[in-house]
């Protein structure tokens, strides 16, 4: 095993601070720039919040698995749950001009990750793959 880490947590919002801590450290180890690290922490937090809210409908005793992998290609996070299947057509953030609560998570995720893709082969639950390609020195 190398350049990777796996964490399994309950689907309770109090574990989001652990998700952020691990995400931040893994991003740091990957050599990412400080501002991108902050964006990545926010994005992974949002993806897990969505699992809790949408896939698990607020049930806080389910399981979320996060797999981190750093490689010359980029920084990858795979997030798995056993909740309700995502409807791909529902995966849209709100129009940023239409000010109302909610609908920002997907925007924050797509801001920093180049790939945001649910694995269609997973039978039960969801497997979200997030990948950020290695950027040049001032890449954002």
């Amino acid at each position: 095993m190398r350049d990777s880490a796996i964490i399994t947590i309950p689907s309770h919002p109090k574990y989001l601070s652990i998700v952020r801590a691990v995400t931040g450290k893994m991003a740091e180890l990957s050599g990412m720039a400080e501002s991108a690290i902050e964006d990545v922490k926010l994005a992974v937090d949002e993806a897990c919040s969505n699992v809790i809210k949408h896939a698990y409908k607020g049930n806080v005793y389910q399981k979320i698995i996060l797999r981190f992998k750093t490689s010359p290609k980029g920084f990858e996070v795979i997030i798995e749950d056993n909740g309700l299947k995502v409807h791909p057509e529902s995966l849209v953030g709100r129009d940023l001009e239409d000010i109302k609560p909610g609908g920002l998570g997907i925007h924050f995720i797509k801001k920093v990750f180049d790939i945001f893709a649910f694995d269609e082969k997973k039978k039960k639950g969801n497997r979200l793959r997030l990948l950020r390609y290695i950027k040049g020195k001032d890449g954002d």
Binding site: D45, P101, H107, F108
Partner: protein, 109 residues
């Protein structure tokens, strides 16, 4: 996250610190709704010690702003760390919230 309500020159200031996320934002929401129920205005929010905010925290403030506007009240933010300003800008909420550099500017305006 910690919330403290102080009164500065007769104005209510909500001093926030720590991380605002899906775990802590319900407490923020409760506090905010309590103040709106009493039709507090203006309500100032000090972000200086806020180290993190996610979309659930932002949603809470968007809801708070909508609520305070129903009675013509004003919600003013100040001392927002750069990182959080960046998040507000990205979300285009810098145009929606009243944002000031510091307490004095927030009070005066």
């Amino acid at each position: 996250m910690e919330i403290e309500i102080v009164v500065y020159k007769g104005t209510k200031v909500m001093e926030l610190s720590g991380e605002i996320d899906m775990y802590t934002s319900p407490e923020l929401r409760k506090e905010l709704m309590g103040l709106l129920q009493r039709k507090v205005s203006p309500l100032l929010v000090d972000f200086k010690e806020v180290s993190y905010i996610d979309s659930s925290g932002i949603a809470t403030f968007v809801e708070g702003l909508k609520g305070i506007k129903t009675y013509g009240g004003r919600l003013k933010f100040f001392s927002i760390p750069d990182r959080i300003v960046e998040i507000f800008n990205f979300s285009k909420l810098d145009r929606v919230f009243e944002i000031y550099r510091n307490l004095d500017e927030a009070i005066k305006s």
